[in-house]
């Protein structure tokens, strides 16, 4: 589990820097999650299947999503439901998940194939992945908090 979390974190850190010029750091102050993952406001999920199955989730405060889109498109956004904001986060997850699972496939021959991303926002959102253990990594940017959550079954990476 540790390897995949760090691969995903390093990839997200690189892509946020390259795509949007935003610095991502680990945030030791965020505690551990209970059985349901509480969203910070804007989330993207990519699930995968292969020799192992699972889910990669990027979650962030709406202000981070608005800034990512603003830096990519060079214009200000005020609503997180703007299709360009949603598309930016969805594409960010697509690139990060693609990059980290390619590395996993190369190292371990897992044959992982990614599903298309889902992106969503709402109030008091909880995300559960029944019967699977997941690990959350708390992170931060100068615009707000970000969380990474990884869950998978059928293997130990």
């Amino acid at each position: 589990m540790g390897e995949i979390v760090m691969l995903f974190y390093n990839s997200l850190k690189d892509m946020l820097e390259q795509m949007a010029g935003i610095n991502l750091e680990l945030d030791q102050e965020q505690g551990t999650e209970g059985p349901g993952f509480k969203s910070l406001g804007l989330s993207s999920i990519i699930t995968f299947a292969g020799r192992i199955k699972g889910r990669l989730l990027i979650d962030m405060e709406p202000a981070v999503g608005l800034q990512v889109a603003a830096n990519i498109y060079g214009q200000e956004f005020s609503n997180v439901r703007d299709p360009l904001v949603m598309a930016s986060i969805s594409e960010l997850n697509n690139i990060v998940s693609g990059d980290s699972t390619t590395q996993l496939n190369d190292r371990h021959g897992l044959g992982i194939r990614l599903a298309p991303p889902i992106v969503f926002t709402g109030s008091d959102v909880t995300i559960s992945i029944p019967k699977l253990k997941s690990q959350t990594l708390g992170c931060k940017t100068e615009f707000g908090k970000v969380k990474i959550n990884i869950a998978f079954e059928g293997g130990t990476v």
Binding site: G36, T47, S90, A115, I118, F120, G122, S123, S128, P130
Partner: protein, 153 residues
């Protein structure tokens, strides 16, 4: 989206509900959406990879979810959506997608399903497909289930 890819999911949802013993299951209205705005409390999402690639989301209100989970558990009262109920909703989605995958593979389309994620909250705005989403209402004795299909075909 080709009807050959839609019908297996629709039939699977109706069949699985029937197997649980949920009564008055019938197909309601169908609409095409670019985005998926859900005014229902709970959405369970499963993805497909392989020759058919995309996301399937089943949305339902908390009341409908409690009713269906109760029927799944032989009529045991379900007062809140707790971890067991979430697991049951995930399993319901698993069964629907698994059944539909069998029909697709009988039509020589190889697909694999991913684990379900159950998302609950208020006023949730989703994008499950960059192409288009087809939403089909399925009416039951416990209320409406919205079957959202976003396949990248």
């Amino acid at each position: 989206m080709d009807v050959r890819y839609i019908n297996p999911f629709l039939e699977a949802t109706v069949n699985v509900l029937g197997q649980f013993g949920v009564a008055d299951v019938r197909r309601g209205k169908l609409q095409k959406k670019n985005k998926m705005q859900v005014d229902l409390d709970i959405t369970s999402v499963i993805s497909l990879v392989g020759e058919v690639r995309g996301n399937i989301a089943l949305s339902l209100s908390e009341k409908t979810a409690r009713g269906i989970v109760s029927t799944m558990m032989m009529g045991m009262p379900v007062d809140t959506i707790d971890e067991i109920a979430i697991s049951a909703i995930g399993e319901f989605t698993n069964m629907v997608t698994g059944n539909a995958s069998i029909t697709l593979s009988n039509n020589n389309l190889s697909v694999d399903t991913t684990p379900p994620s159950v998302i609950s909250g208020k006023d949730i705005f989703f994008i499950i497909s960059s192409v288009e989403t087809l939403a089909i209402d399925i009416e039951t004795q416990h209320g409406k289930i919205e079957l959202n299909i976003g396949l990248e075909m």
